[in-house]
């Protein structure tokens, strides 16, 4: 059962990678990488149960945090060209 779930997740990861490589705009690539991160989180959790070592869930938790921060940071970088304060005036705000 966990093996079937692992296979489904790996296939979904490959499809997300294809979209990340094809993606016409930068936002498609960010979305595909975000989806890939979610699938990797699921894969880590399932692998923890598959090998009977649920300590992997700690790594999964850290991966969820990193995935969120990385997506927001990359989007902010492409919106404002740098990670500091927006230089086009305050009315734009963050993202």
């Amino acid at each position: 059962m966990f093996i079937a779930a692992t296979i489904a997740i790996v296939i979904a990861m490959v499809l997300a990678l294809i979209r990340a490589l094809l993606g016409p705009t930068i936002y498609d690539r960010i979305l595909a990488v975000n989806l890939f991160g979610t699938k990797a989180l699921l894969l880590i959790a399932v692998m923890g149960f598959l090998t009977n070592r649920p300590e992997f869930l700690d790594i999964a938790l850290v991966y969820a945090l990193i995935n969120f921060i990385a997506t927001i940071a990359v989007m902010k970088f492409f919106r404002f060209s740098h990670l500091g304060h927006p230089h086009q005036g305050d009315n734009l705000g963050d993202l």
């Binding site: 059962m1 966990f2 079937a4 779930a5 296979i7 489904a8 997740i9 296939i11 979904a12 990861m13 499809l15 997300a16 294809i18 979209r19 705009t25 930068i26 936002y27 498609d28 960010i30 979305l31 595909a32 975000n34 989806l35 979610t38 699938k39 989180l41 699921l42 959790a45 399932v46 149960f49 649920p54 869930l57 700690d58 999964a60 938790l61 969820a64 945090l65 995935n67 969120f68 997506t71 927001i72 989007m75 492409f78 919106r79 993202l95």
Partner: protein, 110 residues
Amino acid sequence: MLLDTLSWVLILSGGIFGLISAVGVLRMPDIFTRIHAASIADTMALGLMFAGMMIQAGWTIVTVKLMLILLFVFFASPTTTHALAKAAIAGGIKPVLHEDRRKKKIKQRR
């Protein structure tokens, strides 16, 4: 036995929903519909699979960790989706409308 079967069903349907979301991200026409497909993975796939794993784990620390991850993703996923859609709009991307697609099809036929 009953709980085991229930957790199987939950985990397998979670995997199917993950596949559906990946196919949607690959096949949908523009960024906004792709966001819609990708959010399935954050809600249905993650929720169903983690529910199945919680049943497998029973009342242990593992269930608490699973619930923590689920809670965080349920807060983080809408934030990411909203920020991505807003960034795409600000980046000058227009949603593909039904009329645009029909015009494109008619052009391809000629």
